[in-house]
Amino acid sequence: MRFDWIAKYWPLLIDGAIQTISLLVISVCVGFVLAIGLAFAQVSGGLLSRNLSRAYCTFLRGTPLLIQLWLLYYGVGSLLPLVPGLRQSFLWPILREGFFFAAVSFTLNFAAYQAVILRGALLSVPKGELEAGRAVGMSPFTLVRRIWLPRAIRIALPTIAGEVVLQLKSTPLAFTVTVMDLYAVAYKVRQDTLLVYEPLLVVTLFYVALTAVIARSFKFVEAQVPIRR
């Protein structure tokens, strides 16, 4: 076991960690907002929006994330230059990056898994509380904002914590589309120094530590709003 390469590669490792964490934060935050819309479409939407949302969730939960990522990066990525004017626009430098495609596909995937969880949580909010809100004259929007959604999120919190950890564990896939995330750095170290296990071990420790941090923070948030079961 040799670890002297860390002295040379630590700036890369830090950059990689930042990429990994930003992929996680972007996909979880944006994905969660999308999931709220998808979940409400299934719980209280019309026939069309309900079925569309359900089909979206089935498709994204039924196919591997790797295929979705490659579909976006290779498939959509190869079609994008055909859009007139896009190549000259200011967006092109972003649209060219693997990071953009990784962030989009992780977000869409996270939204699908999260929507199913939120749907269950929305349905398990006690009916009486919603009726109480209506009885005091809350508008449907206020009801959602003040009672329905906060209660559902509280019910789903333990499951959400699990999903965030799962999402962290799928971020290394980004390395297959040229993102220099933490795993890609380990891969580069392996190619440069021919050390196989040491870089993987260091990177693994980082993932485990991050998992512990996520689990702790969710425990902390859960403790802020105790729930009676």
């Binding site: 591997p64 490659w70 498939g75 485990v208």
Partner: protein
């Protein structure tokens, strides 16, 4: 380029120059990898769950470390790491025994690595399911003089299956999707076959979409099978909802 003039149906046709055959072969090997890995996972999981419940300190400690580590580390890292560590370790062992080294078959490596990962999750699913079996039922079997094996086959197993099946179904779904990660270490299953087809024809979008629908078909068929299985093992029990 010839490929650019081909229609969608020509590209997807199962006979060359269409790439449908390559995709279907890839899908078959995805299913084969998943089935074998799942079987290994089931065997490890059952042995692991029973030994975790046996209360032997050494076994429990070792197995807890196994399940905790496997479940905390990203699958991609596990697959790549175990792939190299496994083939490397095997060859070192062989050369230590002064036997000729072997080139490990990609299929065997993929299946054993995925099976090893599945085993950790399966251990926890089965352990939970066994714990949920009322202990009086197992005690009753013992009181009637059932041998441990017979008690397991006739009492514990039928009682734990309804509890375990939802978790087992989830694991099956995840192994079919995790098998795509094997593409990263270069074994040709559906994901890698698709990339090959895309690279040759430049029709990436079409082929990845086709592959996505093949995976979706696998998932939907498995859903039907597991629903039927669950109805079968729950027969005689009250309806859930």
């Amino acid at each position: 380029m010839a490929a650019s003039q081909m229609s969608v149906w020509e590209l997807l046709s199962p006979y060359p120059p269409g790439w449908g055959g390559v995709l279907l072969t890839g899908a078959l090997s995805t299913v084969a990898i998943s089935v074998c890995a799942y079987a290994i996972g089931l065997a490890i999981g059952l042995a692991g769950a029973l030994s975790k419940l046996s209360g032997n300190r050494l076994l429990v400690g070792g197995l807890s470390a196994y399940t905790a580590i496997i479940r905390a580390v990203p699958e991609l890292i596990l697959i790549v790491g175990l792939y190299y560590a496994g083939t490397d370790g095997l060859n070192r062992l062989l050369s230590a025994l002064s036997l000729p080294t072997v080139e490990v078959n990609g299929f065997v490596a993929a299946v054993s690595v995925l099976g090893f990962v599945q085993g950790a999750y399966m251990t926890e699913v089965l352990r939970g399911a066994i714990l949920a079996v009322p202990s009086g039922q197992i005690d009753a079997a013992k009181a009637f003089g059932f041998s441990p094996l017979l008690a397991f086959r006739r009492v514990t197993l039928p009682a734990l299956l309804p509890n375990a099946l939802p978790g087992m179904a989830n694991l099956w779904m995840s192994v079919t999707k995790d098998s795509a990660l094997v593409a990263v270490v270069g074994y040709q299953e559906l994901a890698l076959a698709t990339r090959l087809a895309g690279a040759n024809t430049k029709q990436y979008f079409l082929f990845f979409l086709a592959a996505a629908f093949l995976y979706l078909a696998i998932t939907l068929v498995s859903n039907l099978v597991f629903t039927a299985l669950e109805r079968r093992v729950r027969r005689g029990q009250p309806q859930l909802s």
